[in-house]
Amino acid sequence: MKKIALSLLFLTTFSFASLAGDGDKIPSATVKKLDGSKVNSNTFSNNGKPIIISFWATWCKPCKKELDAIAENYPDWVKETGVKLIAISIDDARSSGKVVTDVKTKGWEYEVYIDENQDFKRAMNVNNVPHTFLVDGTGHIVWSHNSYSEGDDEKLYENVKKLAKGEKLDH
């Protein structure tokens, strides 16, 4: 019975819904701004310009490497493409106090939110951090990448530039 129900579920959902990769809107989840107020993730916007959404944590070394590498060139990225980076920390109560101190000490100029019980992480189907998404000017998620290695930030920027020009992206 359960097997039949499950296969039915898959069939019906697939017939109604679109699959990932064809640009879905940012799902709805409640995240916290550094001033303590709550924001729905589906309101993230950037005046028709691309958005980078980067999931990170204060205890995640590669995440901080990625955000540090981007920070070096971020003013140029913003000037050239109008892109905005939204950094989503998945730190829980143990380390969420460290989010603001890390961000300020490093001088990151990103829009930062805390996803303390990982509601947004689940809605975005993130397995592990770092996980980075690209959102186009109309608010559709068009690209994502898991993990960070040296130079990934430059590839990300190639895609941001393509997105700003309306070209097709690659991984």
């Binding site: 359960k2 829980d92 603001v100 040296e150 130079g151 430059e154």
Partner: protein, 567 residues
């Protein structure tokens, strides 16, 4: 059994019907703008085990074990639904063997608007910092205490959030016997009085929660409270660079196997204060926990059926030698805290160089409480008393300095020194008289990255753990003693591929036969949201901590395979 499978089938049916009906009930939003999508993710962790008596890797009768899960989420407008399938055939070494078999262990249906947000099914929720309630899922640790029930969240006016929840907690492939129900209210004062306070630089957020559990008393000897209430209050004040948060929680008497059926009340206090400005920050956290394990089944132990979350305030480490002996909150009672200063020498200064230099200093510690036994002869109840100014035995302390420096476009490095004290009797064996010496160790790490092409790099990690005494036990398997050295060489020829070799060497073991090399070779491939990694070698025993509970993962030898993917 029959009834529960019937229940599951009818729930699945309800889930289906909701999905079927939803598309015909389209809202006023334009079709193009509405989300209508299926997404999900997978994770497969498998290992082929070879016994190795020298390192203590046991013989695994099945030889091959795997932990697998897959999530699928469907979203349409304000509506969403999801399910997760998990399979353990059988569960990997080091996890609770009661994760056995496979099935759909999580499913939910949710309708979310700003005014009203209703979820039925498996729910993840957190009140405040979690001292009264936190349900969450950590697949790598197989921690899932989701509430199977209903949750309603409402924002009736701007600045006010109300939450109500009731259900039973996930317990392996079923649910626990106790019922959990609770409510939380949070007020953002600035948003509530937006016209007067909306633009003020000082932000104030107040919150309060109440959680109660019900479990029938079947004890032949004791009269146990069937309803146990726990309440908490919190305040968060933010003024420019300052941030102050404190939460206090109180639980009525809750005799359980955790507290050896003591009738004492429980309490927890967690506070944090920070100041941050461009290039400098300060953070201090303090915590006191007394008899505060809160489970929906009073007879449970380890990581099962915990309702609340007691954050650990010691530093969370990411290098292996620093994390060899991790600390976790002691439910029975502890007092502790940490202070951290971070400073960034600016670009162009003598110490900052071309790219700036970051320095982090952290000191954290945890001590026991000093309980004074009390027994009430008239009711034959036993409990104890504690005082806020009596500090007990040393459990853990850690002094930590990290320097992070980019030398030029090609070279960068991280250097760490740490001095740790680890009370093995308490933290690993939960007994003051377990008979082990506490570990005192100095640990050093150098982590250097050389980027030889824009997307190609080599990374070297050198680590050493130097114990004060060569006979001192230095990790959880009780065989490893004395000093350790570890080295990692990682090569990333392109963003897609990586290759790494790692050796963790217990060179200081006074027993020459146990001076073991734990070699591990791994390689992997990444593409977008997909990742495949394979490894071969030996892994030493280790401790992994979650939700204040630590578990020991035995040493192992063999081939590992890990696949993660999301779509």
């Amino acid at each position: 059994m029959m009834r529960s499978s019937l229940l599951k089938s009818s729930l699945t049916a309800a889930f289906l019907i909701t999905i079927f009906l939803k598309p015909f009930n389209a809202s006023a939003q334009s079709a193009a703008d509405e989300i209508n999508a299926i997404h999900g993710n997978f994770q497969i962790d498998a290992q082929y085990y070879q016994p190795d008596s020298l390192i203590g890797a046991p013989k695994v009768p099945e030889k091959f074990l795997s932990n697998v899960f897959g999530n699928i989420n469907y979203t349409k407008g304000n509506f969403s639904a999801g399910a997760r399938y998990e399979a353990y055939n059988n569960v990997k070494q080091g996890f609770d063997a009661r994760y056995k078999g496979q099935g759909v262990v999580n499913r939910f249906v949710r309708y979310k608007t700003d005014l009203l947000d209703i979820t039925v099914g498996n729910i993840y929720e957190q009140f405040g910092s979690g001292l009264t309630l936190r349900t969450y899922y950590e697949p790598g640790l197989l921690y899932d205490n989701s509430l199977d029930g209903v949750r309603v969240i409402s924002n009736p006016i701007k600045g006010l959030t109300l939450k109500g929840i009731t259900g039973k907690q996930r317990y392996f492939f079923s649910v626990g016997s106790g019922i959990v129900r609770g409510g939380d209210a949070e007020v953002n004062i600035n948003e509530l009085f937006d016209s007067v306070l909306g633009k003020k630089k000082t932000r104030v957020i107040l919150g309060g929660s109440f959680v109660s559990k019900y479990q029938v008393d079947q004890d032949p000897n004791l009269i146990l409270p069937q309803n146990v209430g726990c309440y908490g209050g919190r305040i968060n004040i933010i003024h420019e660079g300052f941030n102050f948060f404190t939460e206090y929680a109180y639980k009525i008497n809750d005799p359980s196997s955790d507290n050896k059926f003591s009738y004492k009340f429980g309490e927890a206090l967690f506070s944090s204060i920070s100041y941050a400005t461009n290039g400098f920050s300060f953070l201090a956290q303090g915590k006191r926990v007394d008899n505060m394990s809160f489970r929906s089944d009073r007879n449970e132990a380890l990581q099962s059926l915990l309702i609340n979350y007691l954050p650990t305030t010691t530093k969370q480490h990411s290098y292996s030698m620093l994390a060899l002996n991790p600390y976790a909150t002691q439910f029975k009672g502890e007092i502790g805290g940490m202070a951290e200063i971070q400073y960034k020498f600016k670009k162009g200064t003598a110490l900052g160089g071309k790219y700036g230099t970051e320095i982090t200093m952290n000191y954290s510690r945890a001590n026991g409480l000093q309980p004074i036994g009390v027994s009430d002869s008239s009711t034959s109840m036993t409990f104890y008393k504690t005082n806020y100014n009596d500090i007990g035995k040393d459990y853990y302390h850690d002094f930590f300095v990290e320097i992070n420096k980019k030398f030029n476009k090609k070279w960068k490095g991280t250097f760490v020194y740490s001095n740790q004290f680890y009370n093995r009797n308490i933290i690993q064996f939960n007994a003051d008289n377990a008979g082990f010496k506490s570990l005192k160790a100095s640990i050093g790490v150098a982590d250097i990255t050389y980027k030889y092409k824009p997307t190609s790099s080599v990374r070297v990690e050198l680590q050493g753990l130097f114990a004060e005494d060569q006979h001192m036990v230095t990790n959880s398997n009780l065989v490893a003693k004395g000093n350790w050295a570890a080295a990692l060489l990682e090569w990333t020829p392109s963003g897609h591929w990586f290759f790494a070799v790692y050796d963790q060497y217990n060179y200081g073991n006074p027993d020459h036969a146990l001076q073991i090399h734990y070699y591990l070779a791994t390689m992997g491939y990444n593409n977008g949201p997909h990742r495949i990694a394979m490894g071969y070698g030996k892994q030493s025993a280790g401790i992994f901590c979650v939700g204040g509970v630590c578990r020991t993962v035995p040493a192992s030898n063999g081939i590992t395979l890990s696949i993660t993917s999301s779509f």
